[in-house]
């Protein structure tokens, strides 16, 4: 049952990815600007242009170009970046870890803040504490990560400058890293001075990304906790003599978390989508920041590669969430 579910989801995932590839390919090809013209110095001869067009395969029809490109992608060849003249896959893998670290830290923060607020709110339902949590999460939710980023820059970058507001790591530091997963590696190498420097740079973009998601988790989880807390089996647990905290943690949390989980999956993809602008805001050298440069430079192969990697990340997250949901739900596990 679980395996079957997994295979079906995998199939729909591939269909979605193919759809994404088609859409991004079509969108980019109708762009009026000519990327080749941007690469060459003014006054380049028509022959030069034609030669370069052929080099990048731009002289063939869109359908042909698509399948040539797709064939390459399936072999792990995403083409060569026009603006950076490097292998797209290499560029993307060079930047992806920075974005993944940022998004993961943000997700963990969001879950910690959101779940705490939800449990607190559910415990003290009907009091001013709950009303306060409602108002705070409602307002936090309405303000997107872009604005939170600016607010944080003002508050902790300028007014009380305790955090760095630019870059991923202090430029004067000597980095011993061999992978791009700086945060993970700094911990593994026990270089906690570097970990601290990385976190100081990461904290504000991560908080900006985490706050709206934390508010959503707080609202949804609190709502479903309150619903579950009125159900008979929770009443029964109270009658058995368990305290309210025990009741929430042992009986209610798992069942209440299920509906929240599916939504957190979708929202996590929004969070990762948010890294694009937040990385820009904090000059954080991740995939998103590179994506904006790629668009501005009309670097077609790079844009395609980045968008496809984002899409792959999104469908993988949805797949993981779906499997987790099935695993946690005995009805599906044994159905």
């Amino acid at each position: 049952m679980l395996l079957q579910r997994f295979l079906v989801r995998l199939l729909t995932m591939l269909v979605t990815l193919f759809g994404v590839a088609v859409v991004v390919f079509v969108v980019i090809r109708v762009a009026p600007g000519d990327p080749i013209a941007m690469m060459l110095p003014p006054g380049a001869s028509n022959d030069d242009i034609a030669r370069l067009r052929a080099l990048y395969g731009l002289d063939k029809s869109i359908v042909q170009q698509f399948f040539i490109w797709l064939g390459g992608v399936l072999h792990g060849d995403f083409g060569t970046s026009i603006s950076l003249r490097q292998d797209v896959l290499g560029l993307v893998f060079n930047r992806l870890p920075a974005t993944l670290e940022l998004a993961t830290v943000a997700l963990l923060m969001a879950i910690a803040i959101g779940a705490t607020a939800a449990i607190l709110g559910a415990r003290s339902r009907g009091t001013v504490v709950e009303a306060g949590i409602d108002i705070a999460s409602g307002a936090t939710l309405s303000i997107p990560d872009f604005l939170w980023g600016l607010v944080l820059i003002l508050l902790f970058g300028v007014l009380v400058p305790v955090f760095d507001i630019s870059g991923r790591v202090s430029p004067q530091l000597d980095l011993p890293f061999v992978t791009q997963f700086y945060l993970v590696e700094s911990i593994l190498r026990l270089r906690f001075d570097l970990t601290w420097d990385l976190l100081k740079h990461m904290l504000m973009p991560a908080v900006a990304l985490a706050l709206p998601l934390a508010a959503i988790i707080a609202q949804l989880l609190k709502q479903s906790l309150k619903e579950v807390l009125d159900l008979d089996y929770v009443v029964l647990a109270r009658v058995k003599g368990f305290s309210e905290t025990q009741v929430i943690l042992r009986e209610a949390l798992k069942n209440a978390a299920l509906p929240t989980l599916t939504l957190v999956g979708v929202q996590f993809t929004f969070l990762i989508g948010g890294t694009v602008i937040v990385e820009r805001l904090f000059s954080y050298e991740g995939l998103g920041n590179m994506a904006i440069d790629a668009v501005i430079n009309r670097d077609l192969p790079l844009i395609q590669g980045i968008v496809l990697v984002f899409a792959l990340l999104f469908v993988l997250i949805n797949l993981a969430v779906d499997m987790m949901y099935a695993l946690l739900n005995p009805r599906l596990r044994h159905g």
């Binding site: 759809g19 859409v23 969108v27 980019i28 309405s142 600016l150 820059i153 300028v158 904006i292 968008v307």
Partner: protein, 282 residues
């Protein structure tokens, strides 16, 4: 009933505060040439980086100070509101019409219509929205209509997903069967029984989406991809403010406050309207 009455009393100030700010901002934007104290484009290097009125060195007539080119901040904010509101109304309405219609059809009819629409939504949701927007504007070329079109193309899925789910749960209600018993056809039932029940959500989402459209426009201006660079936009002012943050913080603070108030107001206004529409609370 009593709880409902209490809830409604709690909602009203929210409706008035949010609606009040939006009306104020909208009127200022419409009558910008009359309201703005200065020409928003006039540069005067003698007046560069003037602080807001309560600080030393402020000039009368430049209430919120000036930017690094000596342009009046308040006037630029007021004129920037024009772009923001045009984008908000046009983009959100288009996204709403497209997404709600498709969501209603997918949710109520199910079957093939649902499968096709849901698959398209899946593909759309696999794009990072901000990157998608930047990409579209880059492709369509900068300009007001490109920005509006890009936002509508991206954000219709928001409506589609929510309305589809609500239409599906409505379709299971007995009053849908009861309408069949009364002799209504499928489209009649969709319009008469299902649509009125999903409308409050549509209204709330529409208002929320207007706030989102304002933000997306600001983000596009921030990365210099919105409309022509001469016209003042909230995002454009923010981009300048981000650069001169250590010399003139007010250039960032005032547009930021304006944006936050506007976005909060749109979302709260929508929620309050939805609660108003709820027949159980009426």
């Amino acid at each position: 009933m009593d709880e409902a009455r209490i809830a409604r009393r709690g909602l009203s100030p929210r409706l008035w505060l949010a609606g009040g700010w939006l009306l104020l901002a909208l009127l200022a934007a419409i009558f910008a040439p009359l309201v703005a104290p200065q020409d928003p484009l006039a540069q005067d290097l003698m007046l560069e980086r003037l602080p807001p009125f309560w600080l030393d060195g402020a000039e009368p007539g430049y209430w919120l100070g000036t930017d690094s080119l000596g342009r009046d901040l308040l006037s630029r904010l007021i004129f920037g509101g024009r772009i923001a509101f045009i984008v908000a109304f046009a983009a959100a309405t288009s996204a709403c019409l497209l997404g709600s219609a498709l969501g209603l059809i997918a949710g109520y009819f199910g079957g093939w219509a649902d499968r096709i629409i849901s698959r398209i939504v899946d593909v759309w949701m696999a794009f990072p929205p901000v990157l998608f927007a930047i990409l579209l504007v880059a492709v369509l070329g900068t300009g007001l209509s490109s920005v509006i079109l890009a936002i509508a193309i991206i954000d219709w899925t928001r409506f589609c997903r929510v309305i589809r789910a609500e239409a599906m749960s409505q379709a299971r209600m007995d009053y849908v069967e009861s309408a069949r018993i009364a002799g209504y056809g499928r489209i009649g039932i969709m319009l008469r029984e299902v649509l009125p029940n999903v409308l409050p959500s549509v209204v709330a989402l529409l208002s929320l989406e207007m706030g989102i459209a304002v933000i997306v426009e600001a983000i596009l201006s921030f990365v210099n991809l919105s409309i022509s660079t001469d016209d003042p936009t909230w995002g454009g002012i923010i981009a300048e403010g981000r650069l001169s943050i250590h010399q003139a913080w007010w250039v960032l603070v005032f547009p930021l406050i304006t944006l936050i108030l506007t976005v909060l107001s749109f979302s709260q206004f929508g929620e309050a309207l939805k609660a108003r529409f709820d027949p159980v609370l009426r």
